[in-house]
């Protein structure tokens, strides 16, 4: 048997390899808690120095503070006996919410597959005595590999697609027939025009940023790009020849005069259906379009419009009745501020709703020694379970003794943040008795329905 926290196993049969164990240096190994569980079930026999281990000896040899403690093993075996698939938790393998928003997690797992079989030995969190990963965990190792791939050449569909879209934007001005296309004039200063995939990959994924050595200067210097206003009030109709650097090699750019096109715009009369006409007529009685306001039309950009709004609100404020606003007690709300009774109640509410993850991202790392120990996967997923790509777990376990301190709100927030959108369950072990506790969200009932 190898050092204290591995078990070498030479039988490759057995259905348990489907959900347990890992491969290191070409040999199939089991984690200590997995080996002990299988020994208790009678599925394997453990040998140490050619002698078989009894269960007592296996307990004493495999369970120690450095690897898995007795309460952790008790929770592990309890869940395994119920049929769940229990894996050790690896913090860096959790895709962040941003990555999931971009649908990056499914992409990187499926594309990195061809690397997984050959290249690296998984389960590197065994290297250290602590649960901290000393090497790169498999999933995050896949991400820099993918990024370096896309750095090398745009062979990945996603980055290729975005490259193409980028290139298509550049070629539009080249055609010169831009009816509505925005054309960078020759006053454009391009920052750097580095290889397209590199900066794309550099923006995606937090791990990728380290591996790509390119700088992250924006490609466009927006302070110097002026978009010509070709609307009817500002007759900028002459578009000069676009810059050579923007165009692909075979395409020649030429200047364009948009006067002819402008005359053709807005020729067709808008025909409204009867319903639309009636609706317009009804609305005109009380609604007025923002664009009909002359003062608004005078604003030429957002900044001026916001200034105008501020001035108007101040003017309105100046018309406040003094018997209401100059007293020591002033009204809580202004008439235009609220539209319902619920909004008024919101102003006087004592308890504000708060979510467990509020402010969690800003918390520092120190978690009072608490960490998530296991990820638990549903029992019915055994048929489709893949150790390299386990998917989203059902819950994450944090094993504690019953007589330890109750976790502070700070620790709970940090654990929940670490676990992203998978609920965290606390498994409390009291000398052999296990109980599971978790925090549940609920909304305080509000008396007003709106």
């Amino acid at each position: 048997m190898a050092p204290a926290h591995h078990s070498l196993s030479f039988c490759s049969q057995g259905k348990f390899w489907h959900t347990m164990g890992f491969t290191e240096h070409g040999k199939q190994c089991l984690l200590p808690e997995e080996a002990l569980y299988l020994l208790e079930c009678g599925s394997v026999q453990l040998f140490y120095r050619d002698l078989p281990l009894s269960i007592q000896e296996a307990y004493e040899t495999l369970l120690s503070q450095g690897t898995v403690s007795l309460p952790q093993y008790q929770v592990f075996s309890h869940l395994k006996r119920l049929g769940y698939i229990v894996l050790r938790f690896c913090p860096s393998a959790v895709p962040s919410q941003y990555e999931r928003q971009l649908n990056l997690d499914s992409y990187c797992k499926s594309s990195g597959k061809r690397h997984h079989k050959r290249k690296r030995s998984s389960s590197p969190w065994l290297q250290g005595k602590k649960a901290k990963a000393s090497g790169n965990p498999p999933e995050s190792e896949g991400t820099p590999e993918k990024a370096s791939d896309s750095c090398g050449g745009p062979s990945h569909p996603a980055s290729e697609g975005s490259c193409l879209s980028e290139k298509s934007k550049e070629s539009d001005p080249a055609s010169g027939e831009g009816e509505s296309a925005q054309v960078p004039t020759d006053a454009v200063q391009l920052g750097k025009l580095p290889s397209c995939p590199q900066s794309q990959a550099g923006d995606y994924g937090k791990a990728a940023g380290d591996s790509c050595s390119g700088t992250h200067l924006p490609r466009w210097d927006f302070t110097r790009i002026a978009f010509p206003n070709m609307a009817s009030d500002c007759p900028h109709t002459f578009l000069p020849q676009p810059d050579e650097r923007l165009l692909p090699e075979n395409v020649a750019g030429r200047e364009a005069d948009a006067t002819r096109w402008r005359k053709l715009v807005n020729q067709k009369r808008e025909k409204l259906s009867r319903k639309e006409r009636e609706q317009r007529e009804r609305e005109s009685r009380y609604k007025s379009s923002v664009n009909a306001d002359r003062e608004v039309r005078r604003c030429s950009n957002w900044q001026e419009y916001k200034e105008l709004l501020k001035q108007r609100s101040q003017r309105r404020a100046g018309r406040r009745p003094s018997h209401l606003w100059d007293q020591p007690v002033t009204p809580l709300v202004k008439p235009y501020q609220v539209a319902s009774a619920a909004a008024v109640l919101q102003q006087i509410s004592v308890l504000q709703p708060s979510h467990i993850l509020d402010g969690a991202s800003r918390l520092q790392e120190d978690m009072e020694g608490m960490k998530i120990d296991f990820s638990v996967y549903q029992a019915d997923a055994v048929a489709n379970f893949k150790k390299n790509n386990p998917g989203k777990p059902y819950a994450r376990m944090c094993v504690r003794r019953f007589d330890e301190q109750i976790p502070s709100l700070r620790a709970v927030k940090q654990l929940t943040y670490q676990s992203e959108d998978v609920p965290v369950v606390f498994a409390l072990v009291d000398n052999g008795d296990i109980a599971f506790y978790s925090f549940k969200e609920f909304k305080l009932p509000v008396d007003v329905y709106h």
Binding site: S54, E57, L63, G83, N431, G432
Partner: protein, 284 residues
């Protein structure tokens, strides 16, 4: 002498006889935490080892009925030990071979008996198949089936997985009066307070078990837990510690809703323990 094996502060009993004696003779319950050998993949009934509360282990040690031991660190075998190691391996291999031979013999005998039972049907089936194929019946081959030597494949051999240590290994005693890495409870005020309450209630003839399921320190049974429900939830209150009213109300409500009486225990005046029981009379 009962041996209680200590593993990082947890007291485990690996011997079935010891576990039985602890329950029958000493009225200590403990919790079974291992897989049940007959049916390992279920959680309703568990098997050895028996995990004792620290208070239970200490009680047994104080009574002189048990000794706390732990495994000595295994060093790589020294010069003289290598011979013993080799002889142990040899002995094991020999036992394995003997077991294999016996299993083969038994399996062969069983197979022979089974074949003798079904001999007629086998012969009939054979004859029918020969008729279908149009061959001559061959009586010599029929009996050949019973005479072929039976070999039990090595992979189907049954092997025993012992629960407790089957070789008297090297163990050393743990001193339960002083705190150490293996037994950190000694000297802790929380443990001392709990132990006082435990000893007192045990001395009055009750059975006690862990009370975390009901928000207390111990559950107090009038008899064996397999035959009775708990009557009390014992909560140890250290002296001079504040007991907020909302905690008291919560504990009492919980106890009443599960039909148990809350028992507050704390050292009273004069060194004796004072017990206060709370029952919510309004909620039936």
């Amino acid at each position: 002498m009962i041996q209680i094996h200590v593993l990082e502060g947890a007291a485990l009993v690996w011997s079935a006889e010891d576990a039985r004696e602890i329950r029958e003779r000493f009225r200590l319950v403990g919790t079974l935490v291992g897989a049940l050998t007959r049916k390992p993949r279920q959680n309703a009934r568990l098997g050895l080892p028996l995990q004792l509360l620290p208070e239970e282990a200490r009680l047994l040690a104080e009574l002189g009925a048990a000794v706390l031991v732990r495994r000595t660190e295994t060093q790589p075998p020294a010069e003289g030990e290598e011979l013993t190691q080799a002889s142990l391996v040899e002995a094991y291999q020999r036992e394995l071979e003997e077991s294999y031979q016996e299993q083969q013999r038994l399996a062969g005998a069983e197979r022979g008996a089974l074949l003798a039972q079904l001999a007629e049907r086998i012969a009939q089936g054979r004859a029918r198949r020969r008729e279908q194929r149009g061959e001559m019946p061959d009586t010599v081959e029929d009996s050949g089936l019973l005479d072929s030597p039976f070999v039990l494949p090595r992979g189907s051999m049954m092997v025993q997985l012992p629960t407790a240590r089957w070789r008297p290994g090297r163990v050393e005693q743990v001193d339960w009066t002083s705190p150490s890495a293996d037994w950190p409870h000694a000297g802790r005020p929380a443990h001392e307070a709990r132990y006082r309450v435990f000893r007192e209630l045990w001395g009055r003839g009750y059975y006690l078990s862990g009370g975390s399921k009901f928000g207390g320190d111990f559950l107090v049974y009038p008899g064996d837990p397999l035959r009775f429900h708990a009557h009390y939830i014992a909560l140890c209150c250290p002296p001079e510690a504040p007991l907020p009213l909302h905690a008291l109300v919560a504990a009492t409500r919980l106890g009443t809703s599960v039909k148990k009486t809350l028992l507050l225990c704390s050292p009273g005046a004069g060194g004796a323990l004072a017990f206060t029981s709370l029952q919510w009379s309004g909620l039936q």
